[in-house]
């Protein structure tokens, strides 16, 4: 990726303009309100994870940003401007969840085809395709039909086909679904290279660990609206708070939990919620020992995105 950002776009008031801004996006399909005022900002050069249960409206939101779903209300701006469709497709790169490739075409032919369709100038097409083959690590397989590729290889070409035209904003719909850990690692290395070149990335995923570790910020969408957004720490602070679980393993199960603890694993583990580790931990340990139990192990369990996600969206099945 050779695109570079010369300056950070700012409004006349001096505020940093986000690469992508969605404001109060609303859309219904019949009686189903797919988007109910969803809003989010994707900052320049960041990777934002868009999470949400199935049916929350993620795909509709991505398609609306890509211009494939018409909004009934709200606005979508790219670098501060509501772009007409022709300019929007030039600025945006869309990587679908499906392996949207022509299986009988080789890797190079697929890249050339989508490069042309995305308007890559003929003079630079060969260079862009060569870059993509290098970037995906598939130069050696360039002349083979993608039909015979592994899932991870197809995923990489799938991503490359969406960024050949050097978009400054890339929408990635579950880019690592169904691939092994090695391929996932490679895909994130590729995305990291893109980001280093200044590309902003909005990524949907059900892999909470990826959102936690690989993304700068997280937005959680539910029932067509963004219910929370921020860094992981901010989300934890906004929702489940900074409490941690003290988990004490005993040498034998207890019939009755010690006061202040709940029993887990048939009474073999005691769990207590701790807000101030330094002051609360010693008396809790003493309380267990005072009850005559032998402690064989002890751990502090930090709340993560999993808890935040369930806290915000509930445990009820959505489909």
């Amino acid at each position: 990726m050779t695109a570079t950002i010369d300056t950070v776009p700012r409004s006349t008031a001096g505020a940093v303009i986000p690469a992508l801004r969605v404001r109060d996006a609303a859309r219904s399909f019949g009686a189903v309100r797919a988007l109910r005022g969803a809003s989010l900002d994707l900052r320049e050069g960041e990777r934002l994870a868009l999470l949400g249960p199935n049916g929350a409206g993620k795909t509709t939101l991505i398609r609306a940003i890509a211009g494939r779903v018409r909004l009934e209300a709200g606005a979508i701006e790219i670098f501060g401007r509501a772009l007409p469709p022709t300019e929007r497709v030039r600025r945006l790169g869309v990587v679908p969840q499906e392996i949207a490739l022509y299986p009988l075409l080789t890797a190079r032919e697929n890249l050339e085809a989508f490069g042309r369709l995305h308007g890559v100038a003929p003079a630079s097409l060969v260079a862009r395709v060569d870059w993509a083959l290098e970037w995906t690590g598939l130069r050696d397989r360039a002349r083979q039909p993608v039909r015979g590729f592994s899932g991870g290889m197809k995923r990489r070409i799938n991503i490359a086909c969406g960024v050949l035209h050097e978009p400054r904003v890339v929408l990635l719909d579950e880019p690592t679904v169904g691939v092994d850990p090695q391929s996932r690692e490679r895909i994130y290395e590729m995305l990291e290279e893109l980001r280093a070149a200044g590309t902003s990335q909005l990524l949907t995923t059900h892999q909470l660990e990826e959102a936690e570790k690989r993304c700068d910020r997280i937005a959680i969408l539910d029932h067509g609206a963004v219910v929370a957004s921020g860094t992981l720490d901010e989300l934890i602070a906004q929702t489940v708070g900074g409490e941690r679980d003290l988990v004490i393993t005993l040498d034998r199960p207890v019939a009755q939990a010690v006061a202040g603890f709940s029993a887990e694993n048939g009474g073999a583990r005691l769990v207590a919620r701790v807000r101030d580790v330094g002051s609360e931990l010693p008396p809790l340990i003493e309380r267990v020992r005072g009850a005559g139990h032998v402690i064989t192990d002890l751990a502090l369990r930090r709340h993560g995105l999993h808890e935040v996600f369930l806290h915000l969206t509930g445990k009820e099945l959505r489909e």
């Binding site: 211009g67 869309v94 969840q97 499906e98 949207a100 490739l101 989508f114 369709l117």
Partner: protein, 394 residues
Amino acid sequence: MITTLMRISRITLRRDRVAQAMTFVLPIAFFSIFASVFGGASMSRMPRVRVAVADEDRSDMSRYLIEALKADSSLRVRDSVAGSGTGAAGPIDRARAEAMVRGGDLPVAVVLPKGWGATFPNLNGKGMRAEMLADPSDPVGARVVTGLLQRAAARVLRGGVAAEGSSAAGASGDEAGMLVATHVTNVVGDRRDSRRMISFYAAGIAVMFLLFSSSSGGGALLDEQESGTLERVLNTSVGMTGLLAGKWVHLTLLGMLQVLVMFLWGAAVFGLDLLGHLPGFAIMTLATAAAAAAFGLVLATASRSRQQLSGLSTIVILVMSALGGSMFPRFLMSESMQRMGLVTFNAWALDGYLKVFWREAPLLELWPQLTVLITLTVVFLAAARVLARRWEVV
């Protein structure tokens, strides 16, 4: 176990309307078409043969014979034409009759030469011959008219000349015994008939498979929808109109190549005279392939899945091909079925190919077929564009 599997199959069939149509409707439709053409009710109502009569004799006898022919319910006789831009009103002469047969307006014309009435009836082979101007693409027409001519002659004799003592008693099956001696002239050409028949079948089969390959090619849209490439392409600067145009041009060129390969094979193996009819072939193939490609796109955009397209195209194309003359010549059908066949794509395409290869008609005479095929192309493309709106921005 078996009952469970049967239940699954039964429920699946009950919910698959295309499979139901393929199982029950298509066979009935085919049976009905074939029964109407070759047997049953239609045989008792043989299609009326259209025949022109050029009376060069203008005798009482020739007039009686024409009246007797007109009275025959198996014939539709024309002995005069209304005025038009190309000719004046008046009785049909030999040249006009030949032009009508050549142009495919009717399959046969009878010319009663000057002096014919004086030698009627043909006894002992001394009568003048009536000339039958025939179109060999309809081998039935000339024979039927020859037979009915004898019946009409017998009626004339029973009503008038018979009183003079002449009778048909001596008439036997040979020409010498026929009341009206005839001589058949193939005005569309009397050579290379087998090659012409090959061109007929080449065109018939080519048009049918052109439709199949076009609908299958159009189905690529559904494959792309399934794989996500359609959505991806629509995320580029290519709009739906551009996408359909690209598919249509590709399918048109592919269709032309398909027909060309078939005719080349016919020329190489079966002696089909392709080189002698190249301009007409090229024009008809372009128009036919363009319309078939557009029709394939209509079927594809109207279908929700490949499976549905497969069933729908099989039903529609086979019925169209049967009615439109791809499976058997339309002149074998009743007039109502022939008229019905004109709603099909195949009939117009085949009529055009027949004009080129059978009638050796000048290119300008292809205008009705080309007009219809081009109109159909535009209509099909417009329909496909409207149907494809479901894939656009929602």
